[in-house]
């Protein structure tokens, strides 16, 4: 594959990471809550879509190699993820009335519950959406880019969702209230913002985007009960890299982490081409920079960035 090919894969994978990162960051900044169940919320979205798609089927036509029924399933996946998150907030997090550390620990338990329920119903094996696998887009193959129409659909949908979120945050009343709450929760209440309501909307939006990310992750790879949890660390890395609490930082961080993840094989090609001496060092480095270590490399880069910018890409210099 060429650099372009890796970049294209990076764009697709980044789309999924960004969708996950936004929700984690929104809930962190507005509800003051590092939600460890966020990855499993993605899993819920994916499996809800799987069930829905199984039930509604193709529904006739297709866009970008995906039957209409898949988009219905996507919407249901988003909705179920949002509803489950709101229900969990209302039934568990809010009545518990504990501080942010208490919420964090509780959310780890919630993550296990989400996953266990899925595992009871679907088993722990991998599964796939019943969509016909596509060949790479012919016109792009000569450039070394091997992406399918499905990948285009993932990227396009993610861009649409991110643009939608941006418009919501900047130009709507709810968005301004969300930014105000993230900025200064006490002053938000003093100003008359009904913060509980805004928090619920934050859950709806954050979990909804996570649900979408989960559906796309299932389409990109496959579905498994651990799919979301496995991605959680990467998503946390993205959010921290971007500057924890900044939604736009989370987008940037998600993009970078996703890119780095998919560019790892390319890095290893580059390293191979470098005249590294002595030979044993070259061997060690080559063995380190392989796809198995893609996440580890992303974390190393996160640490390096944080050494230079301790508050992340979008973080304030001082708080």
């Amino acid at each position: 594959m060429t650099v372009l090919g890796y970049l294209a894969n990076g764009l697709v994978f980044s789309s999924i990471i960004v969708l996950g990162s936004i929700g984690l960051s929104l809930v962190y900044s507005i509800a003051d809550f590092a939600n460890f169940a966020h990855g499993d919320t993605m899993t819920i979205g994916a499996y809800s879509a799987l069930v829905t798609f199984g039930a509604v089927g193709g529904l006739g036509g297709a866009v970008l190699g995906l039957p209409y029924g898949f988009f219905v399933a996507l919407v249901v996946g988003i909705a179920v993820a949002a509803v489950v998150a709101v229900a969990t907030e209302k039934l568990i997090y809010e009545p518990l009335d504990v501080d942010s550390i208490g919420l964090l620990i509780t959310s780890i338990g919630i993550a296990f519950i989400y996953r266990a329920v899925i595992q009871i119903r679907f088993g722990s094996d991998f599964t796939r959406f019943d969509v016909r696998p596509l060949r790479p887009i012919e016109a792009l193959v000569p450039y070394g880019v091997r992406i399918t129409l499905h990948d285009v659909a993932i990227f396009g949908s993610a861009v649409a969702l991110v643009v939608g979120l941006h418009v919501l945050l900047q130009y709507t009343d709810l968005g301004r209230k969300m930014r105000a709450m993230a900025d200064n929760p006490d002053l938000a209440r003093v100003s008359g913002i009904r913060t509980k309501r805004v928090k619920l909307w934050t859950w709806v939006i954050g979990a909804g985007l996570a649900g979408a990310g989960g559906v796309f992750l299932g389409l990109f790879n496959q579905l498994a009960p651990r799919m979301g949890f496995n991605l959680l660390l990467v998503i946390f890395a993205a959010v921290i890299l971007g500057g924890i609490g900044s939604v736009y930082g989370a987008m940037a961080g998600g993009f970078l982490i996703g890119m780095i993840n998919q560019l790892t094989p390319f890095f290893s090609n580059v390293v191979e081409a470098l005249p590294i001496r002595p030979n044993w060092l070259a061997t060690v480095i080559e063995n380190m920079i392989t796809i198995e270590y893609a996440n580890a490399i992303a974390f190393v880069i996160m640490v390096v960035v944080l050494l230079v910018r301790p508050n992340g890409i979008a973080g304030e210099a001082a708080t």
Partner: protein, 254 residues
Amino acid sequence: MSDGMTDDTTGAAEGPHGGTDPVLSLSSVDSGYGEVQVLDDCSVRLDPGEIVCLVGPNGAGKSTVLKTAFGMLTPWTGTVEYHGRDIGGMAPEEIVREGIGYVPQTDNVFGSLTIDENLRMGGVARDGSLEEVIETLYDRFPIIDEKRGSKAKTLSGGQRQVLAFARALVMEPDVLLIDEPSAGLAPNTADDVFEDVKEVNDMDTAILMVEQNVTKGLGISDRGYVLDQGTVRFEGTPEELLNDEEVSQLYLGG
């Protein structure tokens, strides 16, 4: 002497707004943070159109009076009444809707929002269009008018204070609680802010304010309370408080 003075003025019959019912009153309030009691049988009243200044040593409970009046703390005992209605323990976001505004001492603007957005946030509880009231505020405070689109964190200390007032005024409250308007400001800027407080008051907004700068704070006030250890020790007109030897020596730094 001091007892006599308190008795004189609690009746407030001779006060500038004498004979009217208070807009806001705390009666025999105990209140505090968690287990720690700060206010102890504290009674404060604010009549329509007045400026009332709370002074006293650090830790006397001045800010706690404002926080209890505004629902950020629930009174343990005693009542908080607004126009005769008990509002003790109501949530701040609901008290705003009743007609009370609050300007915190620190972090009183949304730094990452623009001036315009700050003012819009001040009006979230208002029905209908905000444009008219916000334009009126821009006319009144040209210092922020010039910077509508800038982030609030780019404002100077004095400008921030003005924005904090303006944010609270979008609701057109008839009571404004202000916590140390001059804190951290240069003397000249502080004078401007006190001018603004007076101007806000001229718009028929009664003001209950906490102020460390006793002379200036009382200087623009109709009445003042001296708080110590969570309770009112003295009450009177600014002249009475500033000229009282005991008050001066004990609480106003001689």
